[in-house]
Symmetry: C2
Subunit: 230 residues, 2 copies
């Protein structure tokens, strides 16, 4: 296990300050066309480092990320993603993967090192591990890895946005084709794709969102959210 990163760049590659999170959330659009501008290595490293700080149940981190930058590989990925042009255009496309089995092998290391760092007790690592395996195994493995991988995926997406880049999250792909083209093992679940780069204007129009009172409930399902404050 590794400590938190301490050397993240404090500004965008051009020197502008990082975008506040609220601005990143409000300005983010799913980008449909990208320019060929690269994502600098230092920034891409920062985005990845931030993504890996996401929380996961028992800290099991069942996610893996394949960073695709070579043009030939982006074209292969595009072919496996219903030929969406943005996959071939964006300078960086990340394949987010969830591992349904590997965590059982790494749990011992995760819990032992966690205990050494003060999170848990070394005496109860084996017991804790058995409890974790029993609990996680009670959930459908594809649901469990999707749930977790999306936390890290969403973190990557906002990290790219605060560093001033544009993103496109995608769920349109042929998972079997992605697996065979990029060497994924059987247990791997292809969860989503994230393109990162610079948007070629214009942005897509904002399609709106359901109002708060339709999708947020107070205390009980179906009880529309009411706030004194709106």
């Amino acid at each position: 296990m590794r400590d938190k990163p301490t050397n993240l760049p404090a500004s965008q590659p051009g020197g502008e300050p990082l975008k506040p999170f609220t601005q990143a959330v409000l300005e983010r659009r799913a980008t449909s066309q990208f320019t060929p501008d690269e994502v600098p290595e230092e920034t891409l490293n920062a985005i990845l480092q931030l993504g890996l700080q996401a929380p996961s149940g028992y800290n099991l981190q069942p996610w893996r990320f394949i960073v695709v930058r070579e043009e030939e590989n982006r074209k292969r990925l595009q072919a496996a993603a219903f030929n969406q042009a943005k996959v071939g255009q964006a300078p960086v496309v990340i394949i987010a993967v969830g591992m349904k089995e590997e965590w059982k092998q790494t749990a011992d290391e995760v819990f032992r090192e966690g205990a050494e760092r003060g999170a848990g007790s070394l005496d109860t690592v084996e017991q804790y591990k058995q409890g974790a395996i029993q609990f996680v195994s009670s959930m459908p493995p594809d649901v469990w890895v999707n749930r977790h991988t999306m936390i890290a995926f969403t973190t990557l997406m906002y990290a790219a946005e605060v560093y001033g880049f544009d993103t496109a999250p995608m769920e349109g792909f042929n998972a079997a084709a992605v697996k065979s083209e990029f060497g994924l093992p059987d247990e791997a679940e292809v969860v989503a794709l994230l393109a990162i780069g610079r948007a070629e204007p214009p942005d897509k129009a904002y399609p709106g969102r359901f109002p708060l009172e339709r999708v947020v409930y107070s205390e009980r399902f179906g009880e529309a959210w009411k706030s004194n404050d709106k």
Copy 2:
């Protein structure tokens, strides 16, 4: 559909500036004990508004959020969540729900209003809807709603953190008990719980993360990420 929120508070309730995203990601810990301090209504509204800005496939927004604040209800939720004390302690606990069927009913409205706002064409709404239904129906419904709900869930989590609050994401609950206690319909999938409040010190120790080169690959699964820049 509704426009983007324009009135989000620009600072934490105490007047401090919002936390930069990078700081929120690095400082965030899964909080195990909460103080009774409330989350002010204005801040909670902002957190919810930001969460609803998350992207979803076809903008279908298959997520719903039940905000549980009344003590009696938090205790009932605690009982359905393996009696985790933080569920009863935190002033706000959000039940994140994914709807496996309802999007088929609301797709028409989503696409029609999206087209009116310039995202797509009104002439092809029906065709677009049929394509969306066919594509989304090709995925396991529980996987699909978990994937999407977690984008909004993660957005809520970071929104709470940048407004200076502490959070605890949780996957430990008895879904059937949560559904019956909080009136969820059959098609609803309980995805995760998010407690929001103020942490009672001390924070849990940071258990570390897998290093970049173990969970990030270059171009192909298993090819350890190498950067010129590290």
